[in-house]
C-alpha cells in the first residue's frame, strides 16, 4: 500500500521542528543565508535543505491568514523524475517514497527539468556532484516508522498513513469545516496524484513561487495528467519504428537499385541498337 503524509496547513504553526528534524536525520549541514525581508529561511530547497517552511500573509476580504506551508518532494504516484532518468537512478518504491541511487546517477539533471514541482536539487559546487531531495525517510518508512519530520511535528499538522485513508481524512476535515478550508486537496490529482497531500485555509494558487517580492518554493497549478503521458507513448513507438524504418529503407534501396539496373540495361540495349542501326545504314 502506498503511504503518504497529509499536511494540514490550518494546523501548522511554523515552528520549523520538521525542518530541523529533517536536517538532523539526514545529516545535512546548515546553510549560510541572508534575510529576504520575510521569515522564509532558506526560501528554496538546496542540496542541504530538502524540507522547509514557507511563510505567507494572505489577505482575504477583511481576514488575514498566516499560512505556514511545509514543503518537500511530493513523491508523485507517477513521478516525472523516475520516467526521465536515463539510468534508473530514481525509483518509486511500493511504499510511496521516490528514492535516489547515488551509484547510478550520471548528473544529467533531466530529473530536475522533468519535475513539475521543481524539487530535485544538484550539488553545483562539488566536483563529484549528486542529486539531492527529500527521501520521504524511506529508511524509516520501510520499517513502518513515520518520517523524521512527522515525528517532530508538535501540532499534528503532519499525519503519516496510507494514502487512501489520508484522502478520506482530508475530505472529512474539509467538509467538517468548510469555513476554514478551501475545497481542494492538493496532491489528490495534481500531475496524476502525489503521496503527499495538502489541505489549506487559502487557495493554493495564492502560494505560488513568487510572493512578497521573494522567490520561494511553491505549489504550481497542475492538471490531473501524469507528466510522462506523451513521452511514454513516444517511447512505446520506438521498437516498431526501428523495424518499420529498417524495412522501408532496405526496400527503397532494393527498389532504386533495381530501377538503376533496369535503366542501365535499357541504355546499353539502346546503344547496341543504335550501333546496329548505324552498321545497317553503312551497309
Amino acid at each position: 500500500m502506498i503511504r503518504g503524509v497529509l499536511v494540514d496547513l490550518g494546523r501548522c504553526m511554523g515552528c520549523r521542528s520538521c525542518q530541523v528534524a529533517c536536517k538532523a536525520w539526514n545529516d545535512n549541514t546548515n546553510e549560510i543565508t541572508v534575510c529576504l525581508g520575510c521569515y522564509d529561511n532558506p526560501p528554496r530547497f538546496s542540496a542541504d535543505t530538502w524540507s522547509l517552511i514557507r511563510f505567507d500573509e494572505v489577505a482575504e476580504g477583511d481576514q488575514l491568514h498566516w499560512v505556514f506551508s511545509k514543503l518537500q518532494c511530493m513523491h508523485c504516484e507517477h513521478p516525472g523524475c523516475v520516467a526521465a532518468c536515463p539510468v534508473g537512478a530514481l525509483e518509486k518504491t511500493p511504499q510511496g517514497p521516490v528514492i535516489y541511487h547515488d551509484e547510478r546517477c550520471i548528473g544529467c539533471r533531466y530529473c530536475q527539468v522533468a519535475c513539475p514541482f521543481h524539487v530535485p536539487t544538484f550539488q553545483w559546487d562539488r566536483p563529484v556532484p549528486f542529486i539531492r531531495k527529500c527521501t520521504f525517510c524511506a529508511d524509516r518508512v520501510s520499517q513502518g516508522i513515520e518520517p523524521a519530520c512527522v515525528k517532530a511535528c508538535p501540532t499534528d499538522a503532519l499525519a503519516f498513513g496510507e494514502r487512501e485513508e489520508l484522502l478520506v481524512e482530508a475530505r472529512k476535515r474539509v467538509l467538517a469545516r468548510p469555513e476554514k478550508y478551501v475545497d481542494h486537496i492538493y496532491g489528490e490529482k495534481e500531475a496524476g496524484g502525489t503521496s503527499w497531500l495538502y489541505i489549506s485555509p487559502v487557495p493554493f494558487e495564492m502560494l505560488g513561487f513568487i510572493a512578497h517580492g521573494a522567490v520561494k518554493m511553491g505549489f504550481p497549478t497542475l492538471g490531473p495528467e501524469r507528466v510522462d503521458k506523451f513521452a511514454s507513448v513516444a517511447m512505446s513507438v520506438v521498437p516498431p519504428w526501428i523495424l518499420a524504418a529498417t524495412a522501408t529503407l532496405s526496400g527503397l534501396y532494393w527498389f532504386t537499385k533495381r530501377r538503376e539496373k533496369g535503366l542501365q540495361a535499357r541504355r546499353e540495349a539502346q546503344a547496341r541498337k543504335d550501333g546496329q542501326a548505324g552498321h545497317e545504314e553503312e551497309a
Binding site: 546517477c105 530536475q112 566536483p127 510522462d228
Partner: protein
C-alpha cells in the same frame, strides 16, 4: 593556392588554438570546482547553453550526414556522391562535439557509459544516450575509409565497403530515432514548455526539421569548404539540395501549423507576448521565408543566394531548438538565467576544435576529390 591564403591560414589556426586552450583551462577549472563554478546554471534552471546549443543544435546540424547517406547509398542519387564524405565528416564532428560537451555538462561524465548497464526504457534520454553512442560509432566507420586510404590500408577499406549498406541503413534508422527522441525528451515537460511548442507530435516535428536542416547544412558546409579549400562543388549539386528544401520544410510547416490549428491554439500565436514573437520569427523567418527563397530558380542558380538561403534555414532551426529547450521552457518561476562567459568559453572552444579538425581533415585526407567507390 595563392600566397594570401597561405598567410591567412596560420593566423586563423593560431586563433583557433587559443580558443581551444581557453576552453581546456575552463574545463579543468570545472572538474576541480564543480559545474557551479563556471556556469550560471542553478536548481531553478538546470539546463542552459550547453544543452540548447551543443546538444540540441549540434545533433540537428549534424543531420546532413544521414540525409546525404540515404540520398546517395539508399536512393542511388549518384549526383550527390562528391559531397557525401564532407557531409559525413561534418556529422561525425558534430556528434563528437555533442559527446565532448556532455563531458563538461554531465555532473559525473566518467559515468557516461552507465546507460549501457543501467536501463530505463521509459526515458527518452536513455534512447538519446544509446543513439549518440551507436551513431557516433557508425559515423566513425562511415568516415574511416578516408583515413585508411591515407594510410594505404586496403583490407579495412574492403571490409567497410562490404558492410556499407547495412551500415548506412543502421545510421539512418539511428538518426531518425535520435532526432525525434530529442523532441520526445521535451514531452516530459507539459507544464513547463510553452503551449505554442508543446504537442504530442514534437518527435515528428523534430525529425522533419532535422531533415530540412540536414540539406541546408550540407549546402552551407559545402559552400564554405569550396571557398576555403578550393574544392569546386558543382552548382548543380547544391541547387539539387536546394530544390528539395521547400518540399521538406513545406511538409514541416503544414504539420506544425496543422497541429496548432487542430489543438485550437491558433490564438496563442498572438497572445503569448515574447513567446509569440519568438514563434513568429521562427516560423515566418526560419520556415516560410526559405520555402519561398528556395522555390525561386534565380536563387538556385546563384551560389551566393543558395548559401545565404541555407544559412536562414540553419538560423531558423537554431532559434527553434533554443525556443523549445531554453527560451520557452520555463524554469522555476523567478529564477533567471544568462550564460556565464565560461559557458561560452566551453562552447566556443569545442567549436574551434571541430573547425580545426575539419581543416586538417580537408588538408590531409581526400574529402572532396575521391573517386566514387564501387557502389554497394
Amino acid at each position: 593556392m595563392t600566397t594570401a591564403q597561405r598567410r591567412q591560414l596560420p593566423i586563423g589556426t593560431a586563433i583557433l588554438g587559443v580558443l581551444i586552450l581557453i576552453g581546456l583551462i575552463v574545463a579543468g577549472y570545472r572538474y576541480a570546482n564543480g559545474i557551479g563554478a563556471i556556469s550560471n546554471l542553478s536548481d531553478g534552471r538546470p539546463w542552459g547553453l550547453w544543452i540548447s546549443f551543443d546538444l540540441y543544435c549540434g545533433v540537428a546540424l549534424a543531420a546532413g550526414g544521414f540525409v546525404l547517406a540515404a540520398t546517395v547509398y539508399l536512393f542511388h542519387l549518384k549526383k550527390y556522391y562528391p559531397i557525401i564524405r564532407s557531409a559525413i565528416l561534418t556529422a561525425f564532428l558534430g556528434y563528437l562535439l555533442v559527446v565532448f560537451a556532455l563531458l563538461v555538462d554531465l555532473g559525473q561524465p566518467w559515468r557516461i557509459w552507465h546507460a549501457l548497464i543501467y536501463w530505463n526504457l521509459h526515458s527518452p534520454l536513455f534512447e538519446v544516450a544509446w543513439c549518440v553512442m551507436l551513431y557516433t560509432a557508425v559515423l566513425a566507420l562511415e568516415f574511416s575509409p578516408a583515413v585508411f586510404e591515407r594510410l594505404n590500408l586496403q583490407i579495412p577499406i574492403r571490409i567497410i565497403r562490404r558492410i556499407q549498406i547495412p551500415l548506412v541503413v543502421t545510421g539512418v534508422v539511428l538518426s531518425t530515432m535520435h532526432q525525434s527522441s530529442l523532441g520526445s525528451m521535451l514531452l516530459m515537460m507539459p507544464d513547463k514548455l510553452n503551449r505554442l511548442w508543446y504537442t504530442p507530435i514534437l518527435p515528428i516535428l523534430f525529425l522533419l526539421s532535422a531533415i530540412s536542416v540536414g540539406l541546408a547544412m550540407t549546402i552551407v558546409e559545402s559552400s564554405l569548404s569550396s571557398r576555403s579549400f578550393g574544392h569546386h562543388v558543382h552548382l548543380d549539386i547544391l541547387a539539387g539540395l536546394g530544390r528539395a528544401i521547400p518540399y521538406v520544410l513545406g511538409l514541416y510547416l503544414v504539420v506544425k501549423l496543422g497541429d496548432v490549428l487542430i489543438a485550437g491554439e491558433i490564438g496563442l500565436i498572438f497572445s503569448q507576448g515574447v513567446h509569440s514573437v519568438l514563434w513568429l520569427v521562427e516560423v515566418l523567418g526560419g520556415v516560410v521565408a526559405p520555402i519561398i527563397l528556395f522555390s525561386l530558380p534565380r536563387v538556385r542558380q546563384s551560389p551566393r543566394a543558395l548559401f545565404w538561403s541555407a544559412v536562414i534555414v540553419v538560423l531558423g532551426l537554431v532559434l527553434n531548438r533554443f525556443n523549445v529547450s531554453w527560451l520557452s521552457l520555463a524554469g522555476r518561476p523567478g529564477i533567471g538565467y544568462a550564460p556565464h562567459w565560461m559557458e561560452f568559453a566551453i562552447t566556443v572552444g569545442l567549436l574551434s576544435g571541430g573547425i580545426m579538425v575539419f581543416m586538417l581533415a580537408n588538408r590531409y585526407l581526400s574529402i572532396a576529390h575521391h573517386a566514387p567507390a564501387e557502389s554497394g
